[in-house]
Symmetry: C2
Subunit: 511 residues, 2 copies
């Protein structure tokens, strides 16, 4: 590689590093807003965030970036670039092209409309009146169709909706998603039927134990430590705080999770903590060599979700995990949970029952919630339905797929913030994540000897190491479709996930 | 005012607003570093801070700012500007001139040397070995002499040291400081003599009560509420957190304080909280009209200190304040402080005794610590002494002024971080703050009827209102010398402060 092109490449990386560092500062300021900020600071905070995103936009669309990319790619030495350098170049160019093709005015207008729509959504949701949301949502969808139309050309994909999906799960399209979601649905429906009709199927099951927030904080610390997410030692790179909606944010050595403690529902915080821990471990375990480079980020939101669901469900709702952790949970809460047995607890946290709210869904029915949203989004962006049709279609699909009657739009189409927040094309990532988690788990089982024995002993090191080596560490060196192939030897397929569910729930319900 | 110049002025203010908002984001990131950041994040955090200060420097020295200032000032309409507009112009020009005259390389080198010197200081302090600090400190002083030499010309002041002082206390010089510090010293020495020789003078007095950090947090909340600094309500614009060294940071609606709780020294946190509350109230009470303008900031560090010392000492160590607050303190800590009487407590928190450590000093001896530092700084920047002479001169002055024998440089010249951090010219602000607080208090007594009765009833509203109207609210509309005149009718003078101390301590020690 000639010195010239080498210098240009390093110049480019330096600019991207600045951008990455700036974004990490923005995330921190967001985090503070959700966790620590005094209420009166709202206006100042919005000024800070607006300024920083203006600076970010200016930096990410600087013409010098375009010139450097062009110079490097047109050099005859570009062929001598190695895999890492080429992938960095690809990601920088992709981002630059997308950013510069979107008119600043359109982006600003969309951001503004998002804020308005989220506000309308909050109001409409609390008043159970979709009518209060409709007009803002229509405007936001229109703006996003304009964005999608531009991105469709830049990304060279066939439809607007595919362009939106590519923002979260690159290089996948509705054709592939249709295939795997059909597989999923065809596998889940018979399993769900069998469960609901089995002789042991219990009625409403809930424990009414109240556990103080102080104790629940200790439980969260215990569980994150068991999973290997350190929030307490002098080498810690994490924190657990409290927000209305749990989330994970950060970069490599400073990745923070949040949860919400309900005194009368300790189970809720347990699984939100396990879920966010999965996200946090992924962010922390990306190869340190990629830090401050485009490669130093997750492969896709589907993969992000695969890690959170794997830790939350496949490990976190396993008998082995609680065989180790339940006695420790009892110690913290004694005497409140003293009488609960492992079998009873295992059953409690895995009970399958169709419900109206996605985030409360069990492992088996969860994906049906996603399939409904996916089908509706697709129809909306393919102009087969209008915003005003959303409630009707929603309710109809919940009847068809889950056998539920939706009483109002608050427990229906308005339950999630995604559409009001402008996250179109995001929903499929959740089910794709579950599907990946099945494929990853299959490979993990084959490669980590006695993995279940290790979970039972609370020794997660080897499992974590395998996930780091084979999934998390790669950052975004590979496209998601390449990465899943590398991990599982197959392209994306729902079979492994269905098999995992089948085995687990047949045993649980004796069917 | 013609439309043209109006537009230019608004353009200028918009740029300065961006700078102010950026600085508030930087402060927040600093705050997080001290309070919340996981240990592993140090390297990422330094990247974030370096990037943001690079952006800040670029924004604050943008040639467009210089062009706009020139265009406005050369317009014949400039004379029609009102007081506020003219003052904003003055402050913008002053800052721009100073920023652009300092070579970027010199600033960067100084920043780097500061980091190295602070590290050496920490090491040297823990090993009680000034030799480990000497060479880094010499370099840092040299760099600051270069900066001071440039600033001296830009600010049009007569000496390097005056230029450094002007950074913290604009428009004051060593001539004025010499005058008021002499007044102070001449007033304090006889008072201190009388106290130490009085018949009631007690031996070592300390209470050995241990109060849990949890209880001390409640005490901090109680005291800030009494003083009117809200950290709990739904309209709160503040927070209390914990750090090694207490500090205040923030802007208008988001001003946060920190403290350090020592279980075996609850008194320490009480007064650091009262002190920082004074700082916080000042920042919060600047006129909202000045927000995002140069005017929307403190008048000087001396004035900042006047507010912290007024709340900490003049109000916070008064008999009236504890007549109201002690019963509440007892409630929180019951039964630990049940037996302590008001007189006993009042005596305990006001005991006068020369000590080696500035931050532990009582009201009477505190200023002698400052005078020593001021005289040494001045000699250093007037090239009358060298860095290597510092320990010797320090120890000699502590003998002369406070009658103390310094055993080693850790309890001597290395006790404060200021010099290793490059804050030359800052120390005088502390004593100037005390002096101002005396003049302000004198005026307050004359204008707020029954002010002491009000403190005794825990009704601080009227006192706070008066301070907001007459001191804090003005922001930096006035130079400190103008502001003290406006408040007290006099130029800066130590008489009022000496009189306050005299009355209080003659009563306390029956002299």
């Amino acid at each position: 590689m000639s010195r010239n092109i080498h210098l240009a490449y390093n110049k480019l990386l330096t600019r991207i590093k600045d951008l990455i560092v700036l974004k990490s500062a923005q995330s921190l300021i967001h985090w503070d807003m959700e966790t620590m900020m005094p209420p009166r600071a709202v206006e100042l905070r919005s000024q800070q965030l607006v300024l920083l995103s203006r600076i970010e936009h200016k930096m990410s669309t600087a013409p010098e970036i375009g010139r450097l990319i062009k110079r490097i790619k047109s050099s005859s030495d570009f062929e001598t670039f190695d895999q890492i350098q080429k992938r960095n170049m690809y990601l920088m160019e992709k981002n630059y092209e997308e950013q510069t093709h979107l008119p600043e005015k359109l982006v600003a207008e969309t951001t503004k409309q998002q804020v308005l729509t989220v506000n309308s959504w909050k109001k409409a949701k609390s008043k159970k009146d979709f009518g209060l949301l409709k007009s803002d949502l229509e405007k936001l969808v229109e703006l996003n169709k304009k964005i999608a139309e531009i991105l469709m050309k830049v990304k060279k994909v066939s439809t607007q909706y595919n362009a939106l999906i590519d923002n979260y799960e690159p290089k996948i399209d509705t054709q592939t998603i249709n295939r795997v979601f059909s597989e999923l649905q065809n596998g889940l429906k018979p399993l769900l039927n069998k469960i609901q009709n089995c002789s042991d199927y219990p009625h409403e099951q809930k424990d009414r134990i109240t556990i103080s927030i102080e104790k629940q904080r200790k439980i969260a610390q215990l569980l994150t430590q068991i999973l290997g997410y350190d929030t307490v030692s002098s080498k810690s790179g994490g924190r657990i705080d409290e927000t209305e909606h749990p989330f994970t944010t950060g970069y490599y050595d400073d990745v923070r999770i949040t949860t919400h403690y309900y005194p009368r529902n300790y189970i809720s915080a347990i699984f939100s903590v396990l879920h966010e821990t999965g996200h946090a471990l992924y962010e922390q375990n990306i190869n340190q060599v990629f830090k401050y480079q485009p490669l130093g980020s997750i492969s896709s939101y589907g993969f992000h979700e695969s890690q959170s669901r794997l830790y939350e469900n496949i490990i976190g709702r396993s008998r082995e995990f609680w065989s180790y952790s339940l006695p420790k949970l009892k110690q913290i809460t004694t005497p409140l949970l003293d009488d609960i047995g492992l079998d009873q607890f295992f059953f409690l946290i895995n009970h399958v029952k169709p419900s109206k709210i996605r985030i409360e869904a069990d492992e088996v029915t969860y994906n049906l919630h996603i399939i409904i949203r996916y089908q509706i989004e697709m129809a909306l962006f393919e102009n087969k339905i209008e915003v005003q049709d959303l409630p009707g279609i929603w309710n109809q699909k919940y009847g068809d797929l889950l056998g539920l009657k939706i009483e109002n739009d608050t427990e229906g189409v308005m339950q999630d913030t995604h559409w009001a927040s402008g996250y179109y094309g995001y929903f499929p990532s959740y089910a794709i994540g579950n599907i990946y988690s099945g494929q990853i788990f299959k490979s993990l089982k084959e490669n980590v000897k006695n993995y279940n024995k290790k979970i039972e002993l609370g020794e997660l090191e080897e499992i974590n190491h395998w996930l780091k080596q084979n999934v998390q560490g790669w950052g975004s060196l590979y496209e998601p479709n390449e990465l899943i192939k590398k991990i599982s030897g197959e392209k994306i397929s729902a079979q492994a996930y269905i098999q995992y569910l089948d085995e687990k729930y047949r045993k649980l319900y004796h069917i």
